[in-house]
């Protein structure tokens, strides 16, 4: 406990402030972001389950064998059945081809159904979330069914032989948004199906079996069992597949926050390294004194190691508390991000937080203190005897290893870690090289300037080791802060722009050629714009390289089993990128037509790259398609990546123009329908009954909320990061302060004016800040380019303002901080300053 006592005394002496604050901030940043990230992660898993309304779903075209349910029952796994089909509903003379969904009373197993008694209401106060479906005899319906059938709540509609009372407006189904449906939704009780008599042998019905359990182990063993029972008609759907676009957005949001957190960790690490360096140089006298009293080197090491451990533990604990408090502030800001209450975090964030403190200490503080025990006791008599610190390359290396490990562990993302490390590492190396050149140039040209400039620039050169460390510290801090600002503004803006306010929120599909003009006119009459019309034909793959599709292939991917949408275009659609092979502009299309034989054409086809991989197709493979009984062959000439975020139609299979036009085709488009024109959907469905409308407005609203909440979360994070940046600045300035104050006091004693002394300090610090700012601009530009390219999939863009703001803010910030710090030298009598040093 003696070491704790010593630590407290050192703290009282004011020597530990910077180290402790850096440590507390490092731990607080990591803890707060990890806590939030983990809770979001857990919520995301829950959310994805709620998109399925279960933990797992089996979709099938037939009723499930009773063994499935018995096995589930024996393992205590909850199940619910859903049956969906299209059927006509009547009210008097009005009728509508509705999309019927019959559910058991315990539906949904995860998530909730949103219902209301006010049609078309978007007011949250009028919407109620429930975790059960309608009672027997009742139905909950889509609001647009009311005007379609001219009914109100309380009326009864007819379905087959039964009459069902409309009791609620169905606002949102947890698993509803991801499926397209033809008509207005009618949610009914499963038990009403037999009475209705609408389901006959051969009826086109889709069954869904929902399963959920809190007992992870039992559930996993059930899933393994179940998989062995499935046949070609059954498809297992996991939460990940349920709602890709929202999961994607959340994932991107999480990465933004992680990135901000990682920047905080690096900054706090730099502050800790600088503060430790400063602390260690202040401890040499004390160590010499201890050793003159006969305290052995081993005992000195032990004392400092124990003190460091105490400092690590206490600093980390304080950091955990600050981090916990801060995570609540973050949570408050992003509370609307997820509509459900966030589940509490596990132990991981706390472990990461605590480990951050200890790793930072081991990587930055211990190496800085390592040489202290070797300090000669003779230093009590002779001030010039100072033991040599551990080589700065070794110390730097240890710090980088600590930070890299921490970043990787923390972000679990190599791209983030590498971008930040590369940005900072290159800035540091460039700082040392370019810093030396700039300092040298400054000294040379300074000779020609006035005495203040000459003195100041010569001082910087004389203290070049210290100056370089300061430049590295300043430039690192400025670069990381600028990265943070760019992430906060331009990256988020670019992300947001992809989902503009008028981003398409409805898809119109299955528009027959004879309906196309009518639908087009209806859209234009309502002053709406489409994202362009795409023609498509429905085709099935029958052979690969001349060999029929095998059962194994059919089992492996549903694209081998079902009809696919094939489309054509001349230009590469927006958001598509060629990842392998070629696009039409580099292909001789005539050569392909030349190969066409009577009745069979050979066409080039471009596939979405992930799908090509899943299907095991490579460039040059020949795929035979069957379209309405007609066959044609295509050669895979290239793959593309698609952008799912911009809500425009995307096609897995694309052909050049002029090859598929003769096959029976339909058209599709996407468009933005503002909420006040939502009833247009009814008009389209009434006038063109075969057209399918896919409504994405709810999903888009959700994505938009996430984007705006992430931006606000980042704002709060920026505060923490700024705190870290200021700490680095303080640590770097205080590094040379003792020497500077001593020199200033001597100059003052010799009668130098206040102006001269402050002028020297202003030029020195502004000079350092200017150089650091310039180098930081380069580092930030590089890091952001890497982040845009590797992490956020955004187009590269340059930031010219960086090159102005970087050097200017560097000179201004560092200059004013340095002068403020040095004011003591001119305000207090020189003797007092010298005595206090």
């Amino acid at each position: 406990m003696f070491s704790l006592k010593m630590l407290i005394r050192t703290w009282r002496g004011g020597e530990l402030g910077l180290i402790l604050w850096s440590l507390i901030l490092a731990v607080a940043v990591v803890t707060s972001v990890s806590l939030l990230a983990e809770r979001i992660e857990r919520a995301l898993t829950q959310e994805s389950s709620s998109f399925l309304a279960a933990d797992l779903v089996v979709r099938s075209s037939k009723e499930a064998p009773s063994a499935w349910l018995e096995e589930a029952l024996s393992k205590n796994i909850e199940t619910a059945k859903i049956m969906s089909f299209s059927s006509i509903v009547f009210f008097g003379d009005d009728l509508h081809l509705a999309s019927i969904k019959a559910v058991q009373p315990n539906y949904p197993l995860r998530g909730s159904i949103k219902r209301s008694t006010t049609p078309f209401s978007r007011d949250p106060a009028l919407i109620e979330a429930v975790s059960y479906g309608p009672e027997k005899g009742n139905v909950w319906v889509d609001a647009r069914l009311l005007p379609l059938l001219d009914i109100s709540l309380g009326d009864s509609i007819d379905l087959g032989d039964t009459s069902l009372k409309v009791t609620q407006i169905l606002v949102e189904e947890p698993d509803g948004s991801s499926y397209s449906f033809v008509g207005a939704r009618v949610l009914m009780n499963y038990a009403d199906i037999p009475d209705s008599g609408v389901i006959q042998p051969g009826s086109r019905v889709t069954y869904r079996y929902l399963m959920a359990s809190d007992d992870q182990a039992a559930f996993e063993s059930y899933v393994i069992w179940l998989k062995s029972q499935l046949d070609i008609h059954d498809r297992l759907i996991t939460p990940d597949e349920a709602q890709a676009s929202i999961a994607n957005t959340m994932d991107k949001g999480r990465r933004f926050l992680l990135l901000a957190g990682s920047i905080g960790v690096v900054l706090a690490g730099i502050a800790l390294a600088l503060a430790s360096h400063h602390f260690a140089s202040g401890q040499t006298k004390q160590v010499a004194l201890l050793k003159s009293w006969g305290i052995s080197a081993r005992r000195v090491r032990f004392l400092y190691a124990q003190q460091s451990l105490w400092m690590g533990l206490l600093g980390s604990l304080a950091g955990l508390l600050v981090g916990y408090a801060f995570h609540h502030i973050l949570l408050f800001v992003v509370s609307e991000w997820l509509p459900i209450t966030l589940p509490s975090a596990g132990s991981r964030p706390w472990v990461i937080g605590l480990a951050t403190g200890l790793i930072c200490l081991a990587g930055f503080t211990l190496p800085a203190l390592w040489h202290l025990p070797a300090q000669s006791p003779l230093a009590v008599l002779r001030q010039d005897i100072v033991s040599k610190p551990v080589n700065s390359l070794v110390r730097g290396g240890l710090g980088v290893v600590a930070i890299a490990g921490l970043l990787l562990w923390y972000s679990n993302n190599i791209a983030v870690s590498m971008a930040i490390l590369a940005g900072f590492g290159l800035t540091a190396i460039a700082s040392v090289v370019a810093g030396l050149v700039l300092l040298r140039l400054g000294m040379q040209y300074g000779q020609r300037l006035g005495s203040v400039w000459r003195l100041a620039l010569a001082n910087l050169w004389r203290r070049k080791t210290q100056s370089l460390i300061q430049i590295v510290g300043f430039s690192g801090a400025i670069a990381l802060l600028m990265i943070m600002v760019i992430v906060r503004t331009s990256l988020i803006d670019q992300w947001r722009f992809q989902l503009a306010d008028d981003a398409p929120n409805h898809f119109l599909v299955n528009v027959a050629p004879f309906e196309l003009d009518g639908v087009r006119n209806l859209v234009t009459d309502n002053d709406l714009n489409t994202a362009g019309w795409y023609a498509m034909v429905r085709g099935r793959m029958t052979e690969i390289n001349g060999k029929p599709i095998t059962d194994v292939q059919k089992d492996s991917h549903e694209s081998f089993r079902r009809e696919l949408n094939l489309s054509w275009t001349t230009v590469l659609p927006e958001g598509n990128k060629v990842t392998k092979g070629q696009w039409w502009d580099t292909i001789d299309l005539d050569e392909f037509s030349a190969q066409s034989t009577a009745g069979e054409i050979i066409a080039p086809v471009s596939l979405e790259d992930e799908l090509a991989g899943e299907l095991g197709l490579v460039l040059g493979d020949r795929i035979t398609f069957s379209v309405g009984g007609l066959r044609f062959e295509a050669e895979m000439v290239g793959t593309r990546s698609l952008n799912w975020d911009n809500m425009t139609p995307n096609f897995y299979f694309l052909f050049p123009e002029g090859l598929l036009e003769e096959y029976p085709r339909t058209s599709m488009t996407s468009l933005y329908i503002p909420p006040e024109k939502k009833l247009l959907v009814n008009d389209i469905l009434r006038q063109f009954p075969t057209v399918q409308v896919i409504e994405l407005d709810k999903i888009i609203d959700r994505i938009r909320t996430i984007v705006s909440q992430v931006s606000r979360g980042l704002e709060v994070m920026t505060l923490l990061i700024l705190g870290c940046g200021v700490l680095v600045m303080f640590a770097a300035v205080s590094l040379s302060m003792t020497e500077r104050l001593q020199e200033s006091a001597i100059l003052r004693t010799l009668g130098s004016s206040r102006r001269l002394i402050l002028g020297i300090q202003l030029i020195e610090f502004s000079g350092l800040g200017l150089m650091a700012g310039l180098l930081a601009s380069a580092g930030a530009e590089l890091s952001v380019a890497m982040l845009q390219h590797f992490m956020f999939d955004l187009p590269l863009s340059l930031h010219p303002w960086l090159w102005v703001v970087g050097p200017l803010s560097g000179a201004l910030l560092v200059g004013s901080l340095g002068v403020a710090y040095s004011r003591k030298a001119v305000v207090q009598p020189p003797l007092e300053v010298l005595r206090a040093l």
Binding site: W11, I295, P377, L381, A836
Partner: protein
């Protein structure tokens, strides 16, 4: 007891070997006082460092209380310092974050003394600082800081006390108070006192004076009483 035989010290410089001390011999009996005098750069502090075991000579031997410290490694010398030696420095060397009481108690605490604070308080009283125990070094005058340093040195009950220009940073009046304290405590505790000083009148109060000139011993270390007689 201190016994020094043929001690020399050389260091390598860019201009070749530099002889800092050359063939120093002296003997100081228990409880005696010795002053090492000489102009700046004559090697006084280097000799003090070697005598106290803070530095090693290039040749010769130093025996402290019967132990030849020149034959020991740093750990051995540290152990000898821990049990036999105390210091008073020209620049006080008080730790700024510790109060006067804690500064005096620190070496005792490091040696595991449970009565450290009590002993420290007692010594602060003896140097006349009973009312300043909770003050930090920055709140004390130079003379008071040196008195704290003297209390710290004697509190460990060293058999030999080394003082490196203890009044070099103080005015004459304050310096006199410190000198009196050093000699009074030395007498009361029976400590051997080795003093490096510029002041001849302070040297005159010691039993023996060793005069150095460019690293060489000008006279055999002799009893200052004899020196006085010669001067007369």
């Amino acid at each position: 007891m201190i016994e020094v035989k043929n001690v020399c010290k050389q260091v390598s410089t860019t201009e070749g070997e530099l002889q800092i001390l050359d063939d120093i011999n002296l003997f100081v009996a228990d409880g005696e006082t010795i002053a090492i005098v000489g102009p700046s750069g004559s090697g006084k502090s280097t000799l003090l460092g070697i005598l106290a075991g803070l530095d090693t000579p290039s040749c010769g031997s130093v025996v402290l209380n019967g132990q030849d410290i020149t034959q020991m490694d740093e750990e051995g010398r540290a152990s000898v310092r821990a049990h036999n030696v105390g210091f008073v420095f020209q620049s006080f060397h008080l730790l700024p974050g510790l109060t006067a009481l804690e500064n005096v108690a620190l070496p005792l605490e490091l040696n595991g003394d449970r009565e450290a604070l009590k002993t420290a308080r007692n010594y602060l009283e003896r140097v006349g600082l009973a009312h300043r125990v909770t003050h930090y070094p920055r709140q004390l005058s130079g003379g008071e800081q040196q008195r704290v340093a003297v209390a710290r040195a004697f509190a460990c009950k060293p058999t030999i006390l080394f003082a490196d220009e203890p009044t070099g940073n103080l005015d004459t009046g304050t310096g006199e108070i410190i000198n009196n304290l050093l000699f009074d405590l030395n007498r009361e505790e029976g400590t051997t006192l080795v003093l490096v000083t510029h002041e001849m009148n302070l040297a005159a109060r010691c039993n023996t004076t060793l005069q150095l000139q460019a690293g060489r011993q000008m006279t055999p270390a002799e009893n200052s009483k004899d020196t006085t007689e010669k001067e007369n």
